[in-house]
């Protein structure tokens, strides 16, 4: 662990050294290469086979290298000792690592050749972070707290900017900073750029702390929106500075305020427009599914750039674009595209965040920007800290008069302490014009120090503070279905009670908006189909189902026993039909005992043995499968009934625009309906105490036997073209022999293990509470304790053997199984299987 970290670090360092030497060397040569044509002509004596063309690729290569270095930096930070990472926030570590990298660059170049340029930051690094944050914004929470967030973002930021600027100016006038060429307006400009809490830093720190959701949304929403505000303020003040003090009169000030409003609201409005555009666009991207996820990025970025072009607030624009479009985009796009989108967003955002922090560190190692003025720097830190606290408490005090659930004092403390400054402030500082602001470098260095101070120091102390204050932490993130149902019920109840007591309240508005949204906006922005089944609860349910299926299949895959899924029809040709229906009737007890006995022992032989699996389709699967099927037999027979045989065709062809999985609509539908039906049945049976198992089993038998006939008649061709499957089929026949004997659990159990919270253990999947007393397969414990008589096993053995085909592997297996002592059973089996795979 530790060594790998060092290795990583070493590699990073080494890489950077090389890169710099390379660049250094190359830039040294630049003079010589002034006239490449000339140069080339002189040297060429023949056709060069390989030429070294660094300049040809220089810029993209450097970019890629830095991205790579940043990624490695992140890797090393993450991989670092967990004791360190639990204390240090990641962002702080990245900055510190940036110091080192910057030191190396400095050592090689004797100047800082790499800096975080404001244009790079604002155009290429920031947008995706904001887009990610806004796209994943918990909308309901955000909008229900929007009032508070806006107040913090707008008034809080203005308050911070004004007070910090004015106080610094006051101190300057009082002589605390010595001799500086700086006026009131410049101080206010500085105040405005340092005022904003940075979303990047805030997310990075708060994500690790897990505070409660209201607190998180307040801090996070504020940080997101106040960036917009601070940029606007900055622009206004910059315009004032350029205008010069004497030119400013009341009219100009009003114009400034007006600009503020226009820029902020115009930006937000533009974002909404682009969100609508995007939603409309995704309505009709059905046939270009493979690129539809890209639209979100492109349109989001367009929203950003357009706002920038119109000198509106770009950050607000992209924020609102993301927040508003998420619902419709999610409904309109294909499930896969959404997954793609999520991952891509996270990838980009995380990547840029890393880059930003690393470069914030690197930038520091530069003698050019460092101007030290103790008074200015310390007072800035002091003031932003103090005024943040005052601002938060003041605004919260006002807000609490109107809030139904007041923001608690502890939360307020955390909010004020969470005023982290970040790259936005630095970017703005770096954009200052040196002509109008002579003390630009002092401002940059102060900003950097503030950033380091807040991100590193406050970041480190945030977690202990939260723990010490016992801030309410976030509850578990995944709501249970029942909680969601209850939430839904709340909404209705609250609305109803408001109606009854005759008040037009929040719920009245929410409901009115919801109705409007449902009737008109969704109609406009959503695919008709998506609209139909987008009911909130339904989607959760659907998701659950989907998750279950995925879990189940992957579990099966892990165990290498998916075979039975594909051939579940054949699998159901069970022993009852062919050999022993009389057995079944005569000795049901024994058979139950038998099967549960098997369940019992397999439960502890289980997974440890066959972890490294073979792919589900393989000639050798038989032996393995025999084993596994017993292993997770519970899961198997539970799902067997309603597992839809996938009509997936694996076409081996390349296509740029399609993944060739033709999963039909009906299939999904059918799976869903089947699940529903069987759940229903199981509940009915459980509820009424009727054991329906028998009926179901019989039904299966008939239907399946019929199908099996087909299967045998045309041999391998029956099994979906997988040559292997024939073997698998015959083999699974045996397995199902085992299942079917276990007939009681088939009907009475719950069919879909998906709904069980702990899916990992197949042994849990039959829900005891649903089963009736006598008809029930004994619980795990009971099964284990069942009396075991070798006799009984033997008696059943021949029947079993006859069940299976003439597969020699299986014969060996089965007989060994029946003869061995049960404790050693798994072991032996395993040993026998081994050679086959080795």
């Amino acid at each position: 662990m530790a060594s790998s970290v060092y290795l990583c670090l070493l590699r990073t360092v080494f890489l950077v050294c090389i890169v710099n030497l390379l660049i250094h060397g190359v830039s040294g040569d630049e003079d010589v290469n002034q006239n490449p044509h000339h140069h080339l002509h002189e040297n060429i004596t023949g056709l060069p086979i390989v030429t070294f063309k660094w300049h040809h690729v220089e810029t993209p290569y450097l970019v890629v290298l830095w991205v790579f270095v940043a990624a490695l930096a992140k890797l090393s930070v993450i991989e670092l000792n967990h004791h360190v990472t639990s204390v240090f926030p990641e962002s702080g570590l990245l900055i510190i690592l940036g110091f080192f990298l910057g030191g190396i660059v400095w050592g090689a170049d004797k100047a800082q050749t790499f800096k975080l340029l404001p244009s790079t930051f604002f155009f290429y690094l920031l947008p995706q972070i904001i887009l990610d944050a806004s796209y994943f914004m918990p909308n309901k929470l955000f909008f229900s707290n929007l009032g508070a967030i806006l107040i913090y973002a707008i008034f809080g930021t203005c308050w911070n900017a004004a007070t910090v600027g004015l106080s610094l100016w006051g101190c300057y006038e009082a002589g605390a900073m010595g001799n500086l060429d700086i006026g009131l307006l410049q101080f206010l400009l500085f105040g405005s750029l340092i005022a904003a809490v940075d979303p990047v830093a805030v997310i990075a720190v708060f994500e690790e702390v897990h505070v409660n959701e209201v607190l998180f949304i307040l801090v996070f929403g504020e940080s997101l929106l106040n960036d917009g505000v601070t940029v606007v303020l900055y622009n206004v003040f910059e315009a004032f500075v350029n205008l010069g003090g004497p030119m400013i009169d009341t009219a100009e000030i009003f114009k400034g305020i007006f600009t503020f409003v226009v820029v902020a609201f115009g930006g937000s409005f533009l974002g909404v427009v682009f969100a609508i555009l995007l939603s409309l666009l995704t309505r009709c991207t059905k046939h270009i599914q493979i690129i539809e996820a890209g639209f979100v990025f492109v349109v989001g970025y367009m929203a950003y750039l357009t706002a920038e072009m119109l000198s509106l607030s770009a950050i607000l624009s992209i924020t609102f674009c993301g927040v508003c479009c998420q619902k419709y985009v999610n409904a309109n796009m294909d499930e896969k595209s959404i997954t793609t989108l999520r991952h891509a967003l996270k990838l980009l955002a995380n990547g840029s965040e890393t880059m930003i922090f690393v470069f914030l560190g690197i930038t520091a190692i530069d003698t050019e920007i460092w101007v030290w003025n103790t008074g200015f720097i310390l007072l800035t830190i002091l003031f932003i800290f103090i005024y943040r606290i005052i601002g938060v408490f003041l605004l919260t005090w006002m807000l609490n008069k109107f809030r139904l659930v007041p923001v608690e004092v502890i939360d307020q403390v955390v909010m004020s302490y969470g005023g982290l400054r970040g790259a936005v402030a630095y970017g703005l500082a770096a954009m200052l014009d040196e002509k109008t602001i002579p003390e630009k470098n002092l401002m940059i260095s102060t900003t950097l120090i503030v950033v380091y101070f807040t991100v590193i120091l406050q970041g480190i102390t945030m977690k202990p503070l939260v723990q010490w204050l016992k801030v309410k932490r976030a509850a578990h993130s995944d709501l249970k279905l029942i909680e969601k149902l209850n939430n839904r019920a709340f909404d209705h109840i609250l609305a109803a009670v408001e109606d009854i007591c005759g008040r037009i309240g929040d719920n009245w508005w929410t409901r009115g908006w919801n109705r409007f949204e449902e009737n008109y906006i969704s109609w406009l922005l959503m695919k008709p189909k998506a609209r139909k089944n987008r009911d909130y609860l339904f989607s959760i349910f659907h998701k659950l189902n989907l998750e279950d299926a995925v879990n189940y299949v992957s579990e099966g895959e892990r165990q290498g026993s998916l075979a039975f899924i594909r051939s579940d029809k054949a699998a159901n040709v069970d022993f009852k039909k062919q050999f022993g229906s009389e057995f079944a009737d005569v000795m049901p007890d024994i058979m139950v005992d038998m099967s549960s006995y098997e369940l019992g022992i397999e439960n502890f032989s289980v997974t440890s043995i066959v972890k490294d699996t073979i792919p589900s389709v393989s000639l050798d699967i038989n032996a393995q499968d025999r084993k596994n099927a017993l292993d997770d037999i519970n899961a198997h027979h539970l799902l067997q009934q309603h597992l839809y045989r996938s009509r997936k065709h694996h076409r081996h062809k390349y296509s740029r625009s399609h993944f060739s999985i033709n999963q039909s609509e009906e299939e999904v539908q059918e799976i869903f309906q089947r699940t529903m039906r069987s759940r229903l049945e199981s509940f009915k049976s459980a509820k009424m105490g009727v054991n329906q198992a028998k009926k179901i089993t019989k039904h299966h038998k008939k239907e399946l036997a019929h199908k099996m006939a087909n299967g045998h008649s045309d041999g391998t061709g029956y099994l979906y073209g997988d040559e292997v499957d024939s073997a698998v089929g015959s083999e699974t026949g045996v397995i199902s022999g085992t299942f079917m004997r276990d007939k009681y659990t088939v009907g009475a159990g719950i069919e879909n293990p998906v709904f069980l919270p702990d899916m990992d253990s197949p042994t849990h999947s039959s829900l005891p509470w649903l089963m009736e007393t006598e008809a029930v397969a004994p619980s795990q414990r009971a099964q284990r304790r069942l009396p075991w008589t070798p006799n009984r096993l033997r008696r059943l053995a021949p029947m079993r053997i006859s069940t299976c085909s003439t597969d020699s592997f299986l014969m060996a297996d089965v007989s060994s199984l029946t003869l061995e002592e049960h404790e050693e059973l798994s072991q032996t089996d395993h040993d026998e299987i081994r050679p086959v795979f080795d």
Partner: protein, 216 residues
């Protein structure tokens, strides 16, 4: 209880205020509303509530209205339902939806939470046997989803079943084979909804301003 109906007496308001925690202004407003709903009668009947227009689109309207006439919500061990309620009962029901006061001890919070959850529980447990059975829960879910149209009853059942299953697996964990999950008891209900901060959610804002004129 009827005496102050015609003559809103300060003293009676005060008693009610102590009982339910509403301020006098709020009580006055609610009283106005009460009279408006009951057409100046002294008692309120189900039909009065059913005529509220805004309520018509509420999918779980009948449950909510029923809760207003449920004896369990008025006193500790009441059983059954009543035909009509007076203002005091009306206020009692409303007080379930009061926001928690700003300063509150941990026990009070817990108490409040229990009361609110009990109200919800009673709403689900229609036959008053102390458990929410699957049938009862299915009914609620069906009603909840009845407005969304696209979903059939089957789906609603499926969802209810899934939810119930979840509850069973959470609250009971591993059950012996002969056990049968009867339904959600209040204890389980408390346990399941642990994550929801009901004390900060199940409330509406009672204004000190009369808006009864606005809604009809």
């Amino acid at each position: 209880m009827g005496s102050f109906q015609s003559l809103p007496d300060d003293h009676q308001y005060r008693t009610l205020s102590q009982k339910t925690g509403f301020s006098l202004d709020q009580i006055a407003i609610l009283h106005n509303r009460f009279k408006q709903l009951s057409q100046n009668e002294e008692t309120l009947r189900r039909d009065d509530l059913k005529t509220i227009q805004d309520l018509e689109s509420n999918p779980i309207r009948s449950e909510i209205i029923e809760a207003f006439f449920d004896r369990r919500n008025f006193q500790k061990d009441g059983v059954g339902s009543v035909e009509e309620i007076g203002f005091e009962e009306f206020l009692t029901i409303m007080s379930y939806f009061r926001a928690p006061p700003h300063h509150i001890t941990e026990e009070q919070r817990e108490e409040m939470r229990r009361a609110k959850l009990r109200f919800l529980f009673n709403m689900h447990d229609t036959d008053n046997d102390g458990t929410i059975t699957l049938e009862e829960y299915r009914h609620v879910v069906e009603e909840l989803l009845s407005r969304s149209g696209a979903l059939g009853r089957e789906t609603a059942k499926g969802i209810a079943d899934a939810a119930m299953l979840e509850v069973a697996s959470i609250s009971v964990g591993h059950m012996a084979p002969d056990e049968f999950y009867e339904g959600i008891t209040f204890e389980h209900f408390l346990k399941i909804l642990k994550g929801i901060e009901i004390e900060t959610r199940m409330h509406i804002r009672f204004l000190n301003m009369d808006t009864t004129v606005l809604c009809k």
